[in-house]
């Protein structure tokens, strides 16, 4: 009942006209960036962050980011279905059956199932966050610095195991941790890695690094491909309607997708992309053999689309209640909270309940807004698809300059942004993932603080990090997360070596 009262307070905040406007702007922007290539959720939130500092309202900023977060999933699906070109990585699976439905003349049904599925999943996900809020915060307040450190370590291990080639993801994580040590050490007051530059006394500005790594690198790659770009052709959409049969097939898929998506979304590093693949695999398991997956099966669209949105809710839970972001986008949102001077972690709900419940309530509202926006405005989104990339990327770059210069009004940040842009470009070409780097950058000071606290309490005894049974259990899980892929690889190799050549079957591909 207390949760319901708090949620009611949250609605009282979120339904204020100015916050409704922020939510609408966020949902609209999110849908647009989901449709357009070149900008993802993380980049958009990073660009919006300095501008929201100018507005000076943390609740408004968070509500806008929540709208962007959900809206990007909706928008990415629209292009995936209509044009067979996903606007976001989370929407790749939507092309498998979604675009096939368009070819069969069921474009309207495809868009409706995606929109309604996203609405259902977003609602389920938001209810789940509502229910999880108090238990997660209670858990977080009950644990000490050693346990907190172990959870962050587990998050990093998951990100490393799930975020690309393990060795490269591990290096990216460590590089991010290293960047997080720049500036003044909070324990001792000592300056570290400032190279005599006063601008680095407070460390590397997260927004500058994120915009450089994601947005500028995307522009470099995008502009390099402009000459090869061919405009998308869009088939007519027709009536936005589902048949009873299609609804009957979609309903259970929406439910299953929501559950899969939310659980996967909570895991740091897993992300909405993985949730959509898992949801697709789940639908194939539950479906009858006659269901034509890959040829326009509505379950193949409904499940992943629900998972996509539910994962967005799931990702918000650890960020809001534990202060541990699971993706680049939530890491940037966390940086935004810190930039507004708000405490992150369990204290956020404790000391600023209106911020958290206001955001959760606004997610309900954003879901409704997005269904209203997405379906009737399909013709507008189709026009947006024809935005020439030759214009889009230079505009994105100019917006990056505005956003970054607005943080501290100094050229140093522009130079830093460009430097990280080039670095991000090089890393992407080399296959070194950027998201673990950004996660580690934001969590590095927190990790160091927790270690410092633990070792201080034990008066210099570093073995305190192994003194908690709960933390030790988490370390074991973290080790398993890292080692299992390696063990699996070794076993597959041994099996392959033991099998005579003529009996070998091709290595199965799997999620």
């Amino acid at each position: 009942m207390d949760v319901l009262n708090q949620l009611a307070d949250g609605f009282a905040v979120a339904l204020q006209p100015k916050y409704l406007l922020y939510g609408f702007i966020g949902a609209l922007l999110g849908t647009i960036i989901g449709i357009l290539p070149g900008l993802g959720k993380s980049t958009t939130i990073a660009l919006l962050l300095p501008l929201t500092y100018a507005i000076g309202d943390p609740i408004g900023a968070l509500i806008m980011f929540g709208g962007v977060f959900y809206g990007a999933s909706y928008g990415g699906s629209t292009t995936a279905i209509l044009v067979n070109t996903p606007g976001e990585a989370d929407s790749v699976v939507a092309t498998l059956d979604g675009h096939q439905m368009v070819k069969r003349g069921r474009a309207g049904a495809a868009l409706v199932t995606a929109a309604v599925g996203s609405f259902v999943a977003g609602t389920i996900g938001t209810i789940a966050i509502t229910l999880l809020a108090t238990p997660m915060v209670s858990l977080a307040l009950a644990i000490g610095p050693v346990e907190y450190f172990s959870f962050i370590l587990l998050a990093f291990c998951l990100v490393t195991a799930l975020g690309g080639h393990p060795l490269k993801a591990a290096f990216a994580t460590l590089f991010g941790l290293a960047l997080g040590t720049f500036g003044i050490d909070l324990n001792s007051g000592q300056s570290r890695f400032t190279f005599g530059m006063p601008e680095l006394q407070e460390g590397l500005d997260f927004v500058v690094v994120a915009v450089g790594l994601f947005a500028v690198s995307e522009v470099l790659i995008g502009i390099g491909m402009v000459r090869g770009h061919v405009d998308a052709t869009v088939k007519p959409v027709g009536k936005l309607r589902m048949t009873r049969e299609e609804v009957r097939h979609s309903l259970p898929a929406w439910g299953r997708g929501s559950v899969v998506g939310f659980i996967v979304g909570i895991l740091p590093g897993a992300g909405a992309t993985m949730s959509t693949f898992l949801a697709y695999a789940t639908e194939k398991i539950f479906a009858k053999p006659t269901v034509p997956f890959g040829k326009g099966a509505i379950e193949g669209l409904a499940g992943p689309e629900a998972a996509n949105n539910a994962a967005a809710s799931g990702a918000l839970a650890p960020m809001l209640f534990l202060g541990i972001p699971g993706s680049a986008a939530t890491a940037i949102m966390l940086a935004g909270l810190q930039g507004f001077g708000l405490p992150t972690g369990p204290l956020l709900l404790d000391e600023h309940p209106s911020v958290v419940w206001g955001l959760i309530a606004s997610l309900y509202i954003a879901n409704v807004l997005l269904v209203i926006l997405n379906l009737p405005l399909v013709p507008l989104w189709v026009k947006l698809l024809k935005t020439p990339p030759a214009l889009l990327y230079p505009l994105v770059l100019a917006i990056c300059v505005i956003g970054v210069y607005g943080v501290n009004t100094r050229m140093f940040d522009i130079y830093l942004m460009f430097g990280f842009g080039i670095l991000g470009f090089a890393f992407r070409k080399a296959g070194i993932p950027l998201a673990p780097m950004v996660l580690a950058l934001i969590l590095s000071p927190l990790m160091e603080t927790q270690i410092g606290r633990a070792v201080n309490i034990s008066r210099g005894d570093w073995s305190v990090l192994l003194s908690s049974p709960a933390a030790n259990a988490v370390y074991v899980v973290a080790l398993l997360v890292v080692l299992l892929p390696v063990v699996g690889h070794v076993r597959r190799r041994r099996a392959a070596q033991a099998t005579p050549d003529e009996d070998r079957t091709p290595e199965p591909t799997h999620v």
Binding site: N84, A89, G163, P166, L174, H229, P394, L434, R492
Partner: protein, 236 residues
């Protein structure tokens, strides 16, 4: 990026099952040319970029997919890209790790007692960085673990990328002197005309409109102070 995602979608459809395009499928997937993009087929790049951490599986360690000898069917640009990636991975992480470790060791000792030295956490990180960077270098040299197999391999117009870098350099030098209005107009106009020279009128008009609208919106309305530079811009 949109073309990369489209290619990933084509690859998934071709395999008939929900494969993880970041895994072994990527090594085999490049054959099918996407229907609407004339660039050479390239492995997709789902894991990279703003979408966040993607869902690649553990197949990065799979030797069968990870042998770095380019396949006989691989084109010269693909082999060149793989070689460049291999050289980068063999050198740069180790260089970064080594530099960081060197800087950590240069941190001065405090003259007073602290329980946790300011060197402690960076030293842990530096040690781990050097370890993993060494493993990457060993993996590249011994051609194990498929380290050079994944990466964003889109065929880029090198001159256009260099053009962007040059434009950024000019912007960095002239931004405060010229002011936001003029420098953003020049940036957007120049870069869009570089890649789309036949639509220069559209590009110039868009650049001018963007510069003016942004100046009003951000500087005047939102209070994000942008440099005036050479122009006098009235405030209200």
């Amino acid at each position: 990026m949109a073309d990369s995602l489209a290619r990933a979608a084509e690859e998934l459809r071709g395999s008939g099952s929900p494969v993880d395009p970041g895994g072994p499928a990527r090594a085999r997937a490049a054959a099918s040319a996407p229907a609407h993009a004339p660039v050479p087929p390239q492995p997709p790049a789902l894991v990279q970029g703003p979408a966040g951490v993607g869902g690649t599986g553990p197949a990065g360690l799979d030797d069968e997919a990870g042998v770095e000898d380019p396949s006989p069917e691989g084109s010269a640009p693909e082999r060149g890209a793989q070689l460049t990636r291999a050289v980068f991975l063999a050198v740069v992480p180790l260089l970064i790790g080594g530099l960081y470790l060197w800087q950590v060791l240069k941190l001065p000792e405090l003259g007073r007692q602290v329980v946790v030295s300011p060197r402690a956490w960076p030293l842990l990180i530096a040690g781990a960085m050097v370890l993993f960077a060494t493993l990457i270098t060993v993996g590249i040299v011994l051609r194990r673990w498929g380290l050079a197999d994944d990466g964003e391999d889109e065929h880029l117009q090198r001159n256009d990328v260099l053009g962007v870098l040059l434009a950024l350099l000019v912007l960095a030098v002239t931004f405060e002197w010229l002011g936001f209005l003029l420098s953003s107009f020049l940036l957007v106009g120049t870069l869009s005309t570089m890649t789309s020279p036949d639509r220069w009128r559209r590009n110039v008009l868009t650049a001018a409109g963007f510069a003016v609208v942004s100046q009003v919106l951000f500087d005047q309305l939102l209070g994000v102070h942008l440099p005036q530079g050479l122009l006098w811009i009235p405030t209200w």
